[in-house]
Amino acid sequence: MIAFVLRRLLWAIPTLFAVVTLSFLLMRFTPGGPFNADQALAPAVLENLKRAYRLDQPLIVQYGDYLARLLQGDLGPSYSYRDFTVTELFARALPYSLQIGGAALILALVLGVGLGALAAKRQGSALDAAVTTLSGLGLTVPSFVIAPLLSLAFAVWLGWLPAAGWGQGALSHKVLPVVALALPQIAAFARLTRAATIEALKADHIRTARAYGLPEWRVTAHALRAAGGPALSYLGPAAAALLTGSVVVETIFGIPGVGRYFVLGALNRDYALVMGTVVLVGVFVVLFNLLVDLAYAVLDPRIRHD
């Protein structure tokens, strides 16, 4: 097991290197730079800016600079938040995203897997129909619809919760964004779990267990263990996505998290910020997929990491 973890951590080095290099190239060959805006800049001013940010250097030199800085843990200065370095921006914003995303992840896992297993257990019942229908809705209604709708209903019409804003971290400010983030993931986990559990309940060893008169809850527990696979595989990317925030939910609810940096960084051509997000996602993905693969081994001891 330890050897497996070590090997995977070793793999992280070439993975992250490839991510950084490919992203750098992709980004720099894309038209538009950080200084193209609706109010054009005077040529002399543009020259000064390029020199100040060393954008007048050959690309390979800039790439070398970036790598050298990255190795020292410095993600560079942001172009669109000029009073902050990218590291500072992440240090401030990540806790918000982790709080909201973490809560949404737990909610999605507990409710999604729970509802999915329950629906599978009572396949064909009214409960099953309700879970299937609601999860279908949860999946199809996009967050840019559900988020403003929630805010409109619970803040503007009912007046129960604030419309948006972080509000110094008050719980009432977190409810709607967490729900908006969690809804589609609850639906996804519910569907994946339901399908896998139905299959698992029909498996021979479960039938055997039942035939031997094992209590029904233990049968279900066994089945769930066998059925956890798809949900677990999905957990890696889902966790990475939830914990790194969502630009839609963050802008609509005014959460000062990192989610917006992904899309806005790219749209603003904030080179350092984009590279920062790339490194961030890279680390998250490597980490979560490692955790998921470890969890596989726990769920199904037959899978060995050799």
């Binding site: 894309t30 038209p31 538009g32 730079g33 200084f35 193209n36 805006a37 609706d38 109010q39 054009a40 800049l41 005077a42 040529p43 002399a44 001013v45 543009l46 000064n48 800016l49 020199r51 100040a52 940010y53 669109s80 938040y81 000029r82 009073d83 902050f84 921006l89 401030r92 914003a93 403003p148 805010s151 409109l152 803040a155 503007v156 007046g159 604030p162 419309a163 948006a164 804003g165 972080w166 963050e250 802008t251 609509i252 609810f253 005014g254 959460i255 000062p256 998290g257 917006r260 749209l267 603003n268 051509r269």
Partner: protein, 513 residues
């Protein structure tokens, strides 16, 4: 809870701002939303009042030489920084040299080029000491100009001219703008800065008019999503917002009534025509394309009355400058279409034969798309086939600024300072950065350049009008709409005066309970 409250509660104003600032350094900012913040934090030699008229700022009085090239400013004796230091003439010298330093790379440095040697210093061709600014004593400042600049006092309200606190910058470097370190000379000082959440400003007790500032704390809340901003306004989480979702304007009018403020604003929404290539090099083609546009429909229906139809290039609202309008303004829309068809025929196009094909490029966005759609439909009526091409903002503007190929492209210009020259310099042939069409008209260039050296304001404006008439006749840029400022202003917020610069310093506002 109530026991712990101070006897007199602070007046806190939550001010929705349509964008997150890039920086709080007044010499690096470039957006309208940043300017709003800067105006509360700093004060230039002159300032804007609630109606955006020029008033004395850090300077209490000034005089200009007869040739209009040398200005002397007397600083007010009670001008102070937020740490109690006096604001001195030397501070202004330091600040102007700082922003024009080429290594500092300020985006808006070129705005200061009217100052003697500013352009040379900014291009690294002259030492910073050559700049035409000198402190004669602690309270007397002399600024020399390249040429008489009638809008100079207006220019001095701009954030590029704001003083910065030398000691803090030398001590903290680029971190001087952080809360606890930032020293400012305006009505407010920085208390907190949490990106994408809020920026909290507190009243500056050392400000010379502090006793007249009614609002103790102003929280700038960045709100890019206009729908979310509207909801926060509806729930009273913010008391003002400097934009509105245009898609929902009818609903806002119906439910919020006079809390919606729409007023003319100095900006023009236009389509640049690529005059470098045929058939767009032919002014008849450009005129025809322009005449076919039903601007009233675009302004009133597509933009729901949040824009005004534009028949000239310079928006109304400049003192002493009568708007120029296209000669065909008086015609009815069908007459214009007939005339446009005739022009196109002269240029060799025919709705039933050789049809004109035009590609409209625009930056992605709901209203830009609706506008392009409406325009394509209007061009159909004169036998022009339009195709729409969109791209994200950076790609779009990079394409224009790098001289990429295009037929017609959407662009806009918002005034930096209140003077027609700030619009007309876009058409100068040597203005490579801004003149997207690549238009080159020697008589136009001559008129605009000549106006630079005219000391008589009336003569100068008359010359600029002549230049504008050439541009409006040739239509290298097809003006479509003039901007209007749009804002949501709570009934509780008093002192918000609509003005063409859309400037509303917090120090003039009051918040009723």
């Amino acid at each position: 809870m109530a026991l712990g409250m101070p006897a007199q509660a602070l007046t806190v104003y939550d001010r929705g701002n349509a964008g997150e600032p890039e920086t709080l350094d007044p010499h690096l900012v470039s957006t309208v939303q940043e300017a709003n913040l800067m105006r509360d934090l700093f004060e230039g030699l002159t300032a804007h009042d609630a109606r955006a008229e020029v008033t004395p700022g850090a300077a209490e009085r000034w005089e200009a030489s007869d040739d209009g090239r040398t200005w002397t400013f007397m600083l007010r004796p009670d001008a102070r920084w937020s740490n109690g230091d006096p604001v001195t003439a030397e501070d202004f010298v330091y600040s102007l040299r700082r922003i024009l330093d080429p290594a500092f790379a300020a985006k808006y440095a070129n705005l200061l080029y009217p100052i003697l040697n500013a352009e040379k210093v900014n291009k690294g061709e002259a030492p910073k000491e050559a700049l035409g600014i000198a402190a004669r004593d602690a309270r007397t400042l002399e600024i020399r100009l390249e040429r008489p600049t009638p809008y100079f006092l207006e220019l001095l309200t701009h954030q590029t001219t704001y003083p910065v606190h030398r000691a803090s910058i030398e001590r903290f470097g680029r971190d001087w703008v952080k809360p606890g370190r930032m020293v400012t000379n305006g009505a407010y000082r920085l208390a907190e800065n949490l990106p994408n959440d809020h920026i909290r400003l507190e009243k500056n007790p050392f400000f010379h008019a502090a006793s007249e500032v009614a609002i103790d704390v102003v929280n700038y809340v960045p709100l890019e999503d206009r729908g979310a901003a509207l909801r926060r306004f509806q729930t009273s989480e913010i008391q003002s917002y400097d934009d509105v979702p245009a898609e929902q304007i009818a609903f806002i009018r119906r439910t919020l009534g006079d809390q919606l403020r729409i007023a003319p604003y100095v900006g023009v929404y236009y389509y640049a025509v690529n005059v470098r290539k045929a058939p767009f090099a032919d002014p008849r083609v450009r005129r025809a394309l322009s005449m076919a546009l039903d601007r009233e429909f675009i302004a009133e229906k597509v933009w729901a009355g949040t824009m005004l139809p534009a028949y000239g290039w310079v928006p109304p609202g400049f003192d002493g400058y009568a708007p120029v309008e296209a000669s065909w303004r008086a015609m009815s829309q069908l007459e214009r279409e007939d005339a446009a068809l005739a022009l196109l025929k002269e240029a060799g196009f025919d709705p039933d034969g050789q049809r004109l094909e035009v590609e409209i490029r625009y930056n992605s966005g709901e209203n830009h798309q609706n506008t392009a759609t409406a325009i394509a439909d209007m061009w159909k009526a004169i036998g022009v086939d339009a195709r729409l091409i969109n791209a994200d903002g950076k790609t779009h503007y990079a394409h224009l600024q790098n001289r990429g190929d295009f037929d017609v492209a959407r662009a806009a210009w918002i005034a930096d300072y209140r003077d027609p020259q700030n619009f007309l310099f876009l058409g100068l042939s040597d203005n490579v950065g801004f003149n997207y069409p690549g238009w080159n008209s020697p008589p136009y260039d001559a008129l605009v350049k000549a106006s630079d050296d005219m000391a008589d304001p009336a003569e100068r404006l008359a010359t600029l009008r002549k230049a504008e008439a050439i541009l409006v006749d040739e239509q290298p840029m097809i003006p479509i709409l003039f901007y209007a400022s749009k804002a949501l202003v709570s009934h509780r917020l008093k002192g918000w005066e609509d003005n063409v610069m859309d400037i509303h310093p917090t120090r003039y506002l009051r918040l009723e309970p």
